[in-house]
Symmetry: C2
Subunit: 388 residues, 2 copies
């Protein structure tokens, strides 16, 4: 197998290294396409090119590994390679979540395999397991901690008493958060992963825009104290589930009781919980961020191409399921700034109300649909946490 790499950041460099270390895998990197040819790199210069065509149009290269940041450019590379009948491996969750219908169609048309295990919870082999192992099981829900950055921040907050701002700074200083942490901290990133898993778990294509996400960016000391007073920590949880033919999904921070299995999932670890009528509860825990865990998933995908592995998307169309958030009732804690800021009539039931000079909150039941469209949710003084 001859590989063409796009991008040579940490994951790409780790891949280079491990391909030279591992005995079992027979794959050589032939060419690496990069943006900045003048950077010092630990690999001979003749491997590098700045022209995508040098890889895409090289008939000797049969596998393209896409490891760049830019989602638009990544889509061009991936779709270009698939169109030419090349196998493709990628870990670009943002691009994949948005372009799954086209990428699925391209695979059907060309027969070329497209693998992206690294896009969902890095080293946890969740897509492969949903594809292969839970194919005909009676799967009812998939949920978990899908984002390493926010989990590092939340661990620091609850174990070392840092404020949100301090914990974010720690995560940035230690390579766990980008200088612009929006995608992680506001919950976009776990939602992208959720959208990918929705296809492999329940056979539905769901555009990210259709799914409610809310991150940990509004978390303040009052919320943190509230969690502690209830014997809880906070985790950012993405969740999708099936009820008969209907599939719903959302991503929200959640109060997690001490002793719950998610409490022990700390720092950059991720967890995925599958529930099914037959196997009951399965939990997968592994590192969800970092170069090595992502590189491991990319390597496993490359290895799987050796034996012509491809996703079969067996659930697509199989169950007659469709995406519909109607009828999903959530219990949430809503902290707000002033009286009347939250439309109480949006709630079907309010079980707690609190007001002081310091803060106000309510706890109540609300339809997912109402929460998703509520204007008050957009106001900076409002924070929402699932209360289970």
């Amino acid at each position: 197998m001859k590989l063409g790499l796009f991008g040579f950041g940490c994951v790409g460099q780790g891949l280079w290294k491990v391909l030279h270390e591992t005995k079992g895998i027979r794959a050589d990197i032939k060419r690496i396409c990069i943006k900045h040819p003048d950077k010092q790199r630990p690999v001979p210069t003749h491997f590098f090119t700045t022209h995508a065509a040098d890889i895409l149009d090289d008939p000797e290269i049969d596998v393209v590994v896409e490891l760049i940041d830019d989602a638009e450019a990544a889509f061009e590379i991936v779709s270009g390679a698939l169109s030419r009948g090349k196998a493709v491996v990628s870990a670009n969750k943002k691009m994949i979540a948005h372009r799954l219908p086209e990428l699925y169609a391209l695979q059907q048309k060309t027969g070329a395999p497209f693998l992206y295990e690294g896009a969902c919870c890095a080293s946890i082999p969740i897509i492969r397991n949903l594809e292969e192992y839970y194919d005909n099981d009676l799967l009812t829900s998939v949920e978990g901690i899908f984002n390493g950055t926010t989990n590092v921040i939340l661990t620091k907050i609850f174990e070392e008493n840092l404020s949100f701002g301090e914990a974010l700074k720690f995560a940035q200083a230690n390579g766990f958060a980008e200088s612009d942490p929006t995608l992680d901290v506001e919950g976009f990133d776990p939602k992208f992963k959720l959208c990918i898993l929705l296809l492999h778990a329940f056979g539905v294509f769901v555009q990210p825009e259709k799914v409610l996400h809310f991150g940990i960016h509004r978390l303040n000391d009052f919320d943190i104290e509230f969690a502690r007073s209830r014997g809880s920590v906070l985790k950012l949880v993405a969740r999708c589930f099936r009820e008969n033919d209907k599939v719903a999904a959302y991503c929200l921070p959640r109060f997690v009781q001490k002793g719950h299995r998610y409490e022990g999932v700390r720092h950059e670890y991720n967890a995925v919980t599958l529930e099914s009528g037959f196997s009951e509860r399965q939990v997968f825990v592994g590192k969800g961020a970092g170069d090595k865990p992502t590189g491991c998933a990319v390597l496993s995908d490359i290895s799987a191409l050796h034996y012509q592995y491809k996703y079969e998307y067996r659930k697509f169309g199989q169950n007659g399921t469709f995406f519909d958030t109607k009828g999903t009732l959530l219990t949430v804690y809503v902290r707000h700034e002033h009286e009347g800021q939250v439309t109480e009539s949006d709630f079907s039931e309010i079980t707690e109300r609190y007001a002081s000079n310091k803060a106000k909150y309510l706890v109540g039941k609300i339809q997912l649909e109402k929460l998703q469209t509520a204007a008050w949710l957009r106001e900076p003084g409002v924070n929402v946490i699932e209360y289970v």
Copy 2:
């Protein structure tokens, strides 16, 4: 797909039910071979036979599902079916652990697939993941809680202050332990699973007799108090690992500190931890005992046969690894009854010694090989627990 079933206990009956409930899987049970034709059963009598040949020699039946207890009879059925080119699914760990070389050879000879995910930790898809996903990763160790019965007993002891005897009675009364609990309680069962995983993780055939196992049958109140006094609980842990080309394995009870990931693995849950140079630590948690979790694994195997799945045993021969316990140093707690009962010169270092009228123990480092052959380990007054 037409199935022939051997055995119609709880797993078989659950399978019958779920095959009628699941939309995605197209497989019919054509015939069920049983021992006692006069038992009342919730299925029409024309499905049943007492003659193995009615299934094995029926050319319409392409998949044999073996779900009986008797290891010898199970081997006859499985090898008979494979020899006739039929696909086989089994969950009989004792039989498989002892007969893997023959069963491997039969698969190579006939090309018929033999799947047995249900034999290792029931619903946890560990064999499939080792086969597919960790194929070319730099796997260094596989370990975990592989036995549900002993984990139920240990959970009861440490969470409800039961004695070993009381906890065993609870497990038996609630269907978690056989009336003869030897295989589980003395650690045979997790060792059988370990032997199966040794092939799929590291590509080595290891007969169960070659692997040290020690169960929880000698546990007394003094040991339990000792664990508590060190802030620990007890778990029965089976472990195999690779150092360069050498693979070693053993199964011992272990002190597990509060807060360790295994502490939260309670009751009939099992856990498997994989360590690798690249993905670092992966943990799989799921129910390791019971009809439904085992049935789930059997169902997934049947489902995989739809797309001609078979184990490739890629690691066999790939790494040039071999089984060798030499050079493996363990730190163990050894509780004993009288002075001089334990040969202290077997230890390379003794770090603690305690003696009172109530009990005596020592903590020290010992070569796995010495421990395995030590005569004093066989004496009923001696208990061994790994101290990590």
